[in-house]
Amino acid sequence: MLRAFQSLLVIVVTFIFQAAVVPHISIMGAKPNVILIVAALYGIMHGPSAGALAGFTGGLLCDLLSGVYVGLGLLSKSLVGFFAGLVQRAIFVENIILPMAAIFAATGVSELVYVVFLFLLGETVPLKLLIVNIILPTAIYNALLTPFVYASLRRFMVANQDTPAVRIAEKYN
């Protein structure tokens, strides 16, 4: 129960960061998706269900704030959290490059899922424009932010939860 509350707190704080701070730290129009990073890291650290739940909660909050299509961001983020959990053993190593690469790929997949549904709903924006102006810059930005989010999240988890995943994280610190 306490762990669930702590996880919810992490998601809400991340959401407030995403809503209030992220718009001011965009680089050439690209904004990082911190909720997605946290959902994927939750998956990597705690498994598929936790990742999906983190993505679901964070995605829902983001959709409610900024979405005309409430439900799309929720789907892409929870799928990312879930799949990140499925590959947790392959990714959870001491080398930060691997989580960064995983977040890069996860962002690409998440944004593509979003684009597919946008097209299904009749939005017509050139795919090349979306890839060059949004998906690629966001994936790079997310990957670069991953070590910082990863470090903060791991510190919080280590301080509050004694999970095997956190123990491994601590071991490689």
Partner: protein, 283 residues
């Protein structure tokens, strides 16, 4: 990895897709007062103070930096502005006498006032947090007379439309959002088209302009007033590029907007009651 293809995983994925589609459908079909729309207003109202706090603290930092970086310029500008104020005061005096004369003459000829709509100034307190949406949150809401559907302008140019309102804040979808579509008219040729956003900062696309059209670079584009969503004649931008695909019945027209959507700080909300009934649900 066999774990990938387990029945449980398939069920979770299907469940997630089903649940998100259910939320999407309910959101589309419910009216303005449906539970998800109410929740959206609640989330907007709850995040507005944090957005305002970050915006205003960053604004102070920016102002401080600008002051230090341009101290000499500011001093020179200050001297110049003082001189200008003197001249303007003189002009204001002259204009006031003209205004009173104008009012008197209008009464005589029963001339209808051209400025039909009043406007409410607002500060931008929240910028889009997602790459897929282009919208801002402003610090005025229902308490200030803002209503859903009202047009938002900057320097006389249309920049967006209010789509959500809570007591003290409102969300404005900007013209460069992919969801945005405004019926416009090319001023020179009187042709009507639809301006759509493509998430580019100062560029919009004008659709449905016939391939036989004489539209050219530099033509002004204003709102057409069709459908009653926006008042007629609001400036939208000017044509920056016209091209033609051999496969298309329409010309490909790009519109350049004189406003930088990414740097909006103050806006005016025009108190125009839209002819579109927003209470019937999302478009």
């Amino acid at each position: 990895m066999p774990e990938f293809f387990s029945k449980r995983n398939y069920l979770i994925i299907l469940g997630l897709i089903f649940f998100s589609m259910a939320i999407l459908t309910v959101h589309f079909r419910e009216g303005e007062n449906g539970p998800i729309h109410r929740l959206q207003r609640l989330v907007m109202a709850a995040t507005a103070p944090a957005q305002m706090a970050v915006s205003s603290s960053l604004q102070s930092v920016r102002d401080g930096w600008d002051y230090l970086a341009h101290f000499g310029d500011i001093k020179r500008e200050n001297r110049r502005l003082k001189m200008e104020i003197g001249k303007l005061r003189q002009t204001v005096g002259e204009l006031r006498s003209l205004e009173s004369e104008n009012t008197r003459l209008r009464k005589i000829v029963k001339f209808k006032d051209k400025a039909e709509y009043s406007s409410v100034p607002a500060h931008v307190i929240g910028k889009p947090s997602s790459n897929w949406r282009s919208s801002v949150v402003i610090d005025c809401g229902l308490d200030d007379g803002i209503d859903r559907g009202m047009p938002v302008v900057v320097g006389g140019t249309l920049v967006g439309q209010v789509i959500e309102v809570s007591g003290g804040a409102a969300k404005v979808t900007l013209l460069n959002d992919v969801q945005s579509g405004v019926s416009v008219q090319v001023k020179r040729t009187s042709e009507v088209g639809v301006v759509k956003g493509q998430l580019k900062n100062q560029r919009l696309v004008l659709q449905y302009i016939s391939r036989d059209s004489s539209i050219k670079q530099g033509d002004r584009v204003v709102t057409s007033g069709l459908g009653g969503v926006f008042p007629k004649g609001l400036d939208v931008g000017k044509v920056s590029k016209v091209s033609q695909s051999i496969y298309s019945l329409h010309k490909i027209v790009e519109i350049e907007v004189p406003v930088n959507f990414a740097d909006l700080e103050e806006v005016l909300v025009v108190e125009y009651k839209s002819g579109f009934d927003f209470s019937q649900g999302s478009k």
